[in-house]
């Protein structure tokens, strides 16, 4: 796959595909579960399904599962309860499938320690990309989100990774597209390092950049526009272009 060749870069992250990685799909709608499993298998995952919490526990106990894709609306024990259980028990990351459009469910899910959430009529590609992103993060040796550092502070800004929320120095929430968030996270996780376009593409892999496949430069300039507009900083801004090699985030980052 295309990202294989990028794995050879100086980039520390492991290969991005979830090939061979084991996904446990917990979903009560049988038809939907089958479709999810076949989608995941088509995309190179090993995938197994569980109908409810009982089956999920049995499978977790017997097989090495890399990530759980968990429906929130389950008969009996709700997905949130199961999510808390998994997070407390160990290191298997959880991605929530929520059919509810309301934001409160996402916040609840993320605060319970889920690594990500996907609203339910999910775009298949986005779903695959999100799973890969979570696996990549965990594969990089980091703790699952529960034990992870949560808030990054830089130049008066704060980025809440749990809630995917960026707050400006003026303390107002700055809305980001998913692509912008992933990009910013990539910068914040690697401050004061030059990142090439390819590295940024990898980092933001969980977001297919729309149908037109906007160039990375456009994404960066959008993010920069938001950061510069809100911060009242007259100088060159937080993200600088290094001609010929990429971009660099110049601010110090503190994690809380």
């Amino acid at each position: 796959m295309e990202h294989k060749q990028r794995a050879g870069d100086q980039y520390e992250e492991p290969p991005l595909s979830g090939e061979g990685r084991h996904v446990l799909v917990v979903e009560d709608d049988e038809e939907f579960r089958k479709l999810l499993l076949s989608l995941l298998r088509r995309n190179g995952f090993r995938a197994n399904g569980a109908r409810d919490g009982m089956e999920m526990r049995r499978l977790l106990a017997t097989a090495a599962v890399d990530v759980v894709l968990l429906d929130v609306m389950l008969p009996g024990q709700s997905g949130f309860e199961l999510c808390r259980e998994i997070v407390e028990a160990g290191r298997v990351p959880v991605v929530l499938l929520t059919a509810l459009v309301g934001t409160s469910d996402r916040v609840v899910g993320l605060e319970l320690g889920a690594d990500d959430y996907i609203t339910k009529p999910a775009e298949p590609r986005e779903l695959v990309a999100r799973l890969r992103a979570v696996l990549r993060r965990v594969g990089a040796g980091r703790q699952p989100a529960a034990a992870q550092r949560e808030v990054a502070r830089f130049a008066g800004w704060s980025l809440d990774c749990r809630r995917r929320r960026l707050v400006s120095p003026r303390e107002s929430v700055v809305d980001l597209t998913s692509g912008e968030y992933d990009l910013l996270l990539a910068f914040v996780e690697r401050p004061q390092r030059v990142l090439s376009r390819d590295q940024l593409l990898d980092a933001a892999r969980n977001r297919p950049f729309g149908g037109l496949d906007r160039s990375m430069d456009v994404q960066v300039s959008r993010l920069r526009a938001k950061l510069d507009a809100e911060a009242d900083t007259g100088d060159a801004g937080l993200i600088k272009t290094i001609r010929g090699s990429g971009y660099i985030m110049v601010a110090d980052v503190e994690w809380a």
């Binding site: 059919a99 009529p121 809305d175 507009a229």
Partner: protein
């Protein structure tokens, strides 16, 4: 009768007062009349009886006296109130016997009381106050020995009935009664009035509104009944909402499955299916959002509107839809619900894309307000549709044929605006375009400064296109370049309202 519909008292209190006034008036006058008549009759009887006694006593006394004493005693007893004379021969006074009214009953009774007299004659002048007040009473009688006695009473009023004072008292009591009745009527109607005021504030679609159960028992019963009715209506609303919500929610499952199924198809087949599914998803999502009133269960927090609008525009561009980004003032911050506001803006931009052409968006920070303007060139909204575009599920003819859209976009945007204490204004001119202005109270710096202002006007205003001079503040600058208009959607719930140049929507 002078009581036509206009002059008949309209209020409960006034009517009660009028009825009580009439009733008490009849009762009062009747009582006074009956009392007067009965009293007068009794007084007349008593007066007559007194007169008989008096005359009988005097005649009897004269009859008993020896003849020699009679003239002297008569002179002694005469005074200003009584004239008593005795003489041997019949009297030939000028008034006797012809003047005055005869009092035959008195004559008969005196004759029967005093056995020693005969030929009793009594008269009196017609009295002003009826028979209870006699004037100029004259009576003569012949004694047994043939001599005559004359009794004259210039005024005979043994019973001083002071009718005038009585009437005055009665009138005073009547006035007090009226005042009490008026006050009672007011206090009777006051609970009804306050109940009506409370009912006017009832909103069956919102929880927590009920009328206070207080006042007299009937009013309490009415309030209880009203509350029960509101609860039933609210339940019905909730049922309907739940049904729509459940249906919409359930639709998401097949949509989700179809998306997965389509994924195995070749690109040429998959893309149109994916687009259709995305459209269905958007519609269902719109319904769910509208049913939640644009609230999405989030808390209000400081939000940068400029960044939010930038995101909306970016998403549109990524989807291949051109939206022009005009000025986005980074100072435009509000205290609000990010997802809700984003949805409102997305709906406005989506409308401009769907129904207009060359859509643009701009964000302006004013001292007290943040203004988001979304405009387009396009056919504009027909004037007759304009007042209804924010009604849920309303879709103009053009919007229906153009396809797409749930008819909830503007309704949801309006709900979001209202929820934040802001307003939504739709301006449209046929052939030139549409301009939607979303105003939200601006977040004030922590240091204070200008107090947050809420728009006093109703949350929604709309302009018709007939008076291009009217939209003084906002549109001309943006319409000078010849924008078209757009046909928005809204719902048929409310009655049709004639578009006025600056009609205020009471929503």
């Amino acid at each position: 009768m002078g009581l036509n519909a206009m002059r008949f008292p309209q209020s409960f209190a006034a009517r009660t007062l009028a009825y009580l006034f009439a009733g008490f008036g009849v009762l009062f006058v009747g009582m006074v009349v009956v009392h007067d008549v009965l009293l007068r009759r009794a007084a007349e009887r008593a007066t007559e009886e007194f007169l008989v006694q008096r005359l009988a006593t005097l005649f009897d006394m004269m009859a008993v006296l020896p003849q020699t004493e009679r003239a002297r005693v008569a002179a002694t007893m005469s005074g200003p109130e009584t004239v008593l004379r005795w003489q041997q021969d019949p009297f030939a006074e000028r008034r006797w016997p012809g003047d005055g009214n005869a009092l035959p009953r008195v004559e008969r009774k005196v004759a029967s009381h005093v056995g020693r007299v005969a030929d009793v004659r009594a008269t009196s002048m017609p009295a002003v106050g009826g028979l209870a007040e006699l004037q100029d009473v004259n009576a003569v009688a012949r004694l047994e020995d043939g001599s005559w006695v004359w009794v004259g009473l210039p005024a005979f009023r043994p019973l001083m009935a002071e009718q005038g004072a009585m009437h005055a008292w009665a009138a005073a009591i009547g006035l007090v009664l009226l005042a009490t009745v008026g006050w009672t009527a007011r206090s009777l109607s006051a609970p009804v009035t306050s109940l009506a005021a409370a009912v006017a504030l009832l909103d069956a679609e919102r929880d927590g509104t009920s009328v206070p159960v207080e006042g007299p028992r009937e009013v309490r019963a009415l309030a209880t009944a009203l509350n029960a009715m509101v609860a039933r209506t609210r339940d019905a609303f909730r049922q309907r909402t739940l049904a729509i919500g459940a249906l919409s929610h359930d639709l998401m499952s097949p949509i989700g499955r179809l998306k997965l199924r389509a994924d195995v198809l070749p690109d040429a087949d998959r893309e149109p299916i994916r687009r259709d599914l995305a459209e269905m998803e958007t519609m269902v999502d719109d319904v769910l959002a509208y049913l939640r009133g644009g609230r999405e269960g989030e808390r209000a927090e400081p939000v940068s509107v400029a960044a939010l609008v930038r995101t909306v525009v970016s998403d549109c561009l990524d989807a291949g839809q051109m939206v022009e980004e005009r000025g986005l003032d980074p100072d435009a911050e509000v205290e609000g619900r990010r997802v809700a506001i984003k949805r409102a803006v997305t709906n406005l931009v989506g409308n401009a894309l769907r129904h207009g052409s060359d859509p643009w968006v701009e964000v302006v920070a004013e001292p007290a307000e943040v203004i988001v303007r979304v405009g387009d060139r396009g056919p504009g909204i027909p004037a007759e549709d304009l007042p209804r575009v924010t009604e849920p599920f309303f879709r103009g003819d053009r919007a229906r044929t153009a396809g797409g859209g749930s008819g909830l976009g503007l309704a949801t945007a309006l709900a979001v605006a209202e929820d934040h204490g802001g307003s939504l204004r739709v301006w449209s001119e046929a052939g030139r375009g549409t301009l939607v202005t979303l105003r939200l109270p601006r977040r004030q710096a922590i240091a204070g400064g200008v107090a947050r202002s809420r728009r006093p006007a109703s949350p929604l205003t709309f302009w018709s296109n007939r008076t291009p001079s009217k939209p003084a503040a906002d549109p001309p600058a943006h319409h000078a370049d010849g924008n078209g208009g757009s046909a928005f959607s809204s719902s048929p719930r409310r009655s049709h309202r004639a578009p006025t140049p600056t009609g205020n929507h009471p929503t």
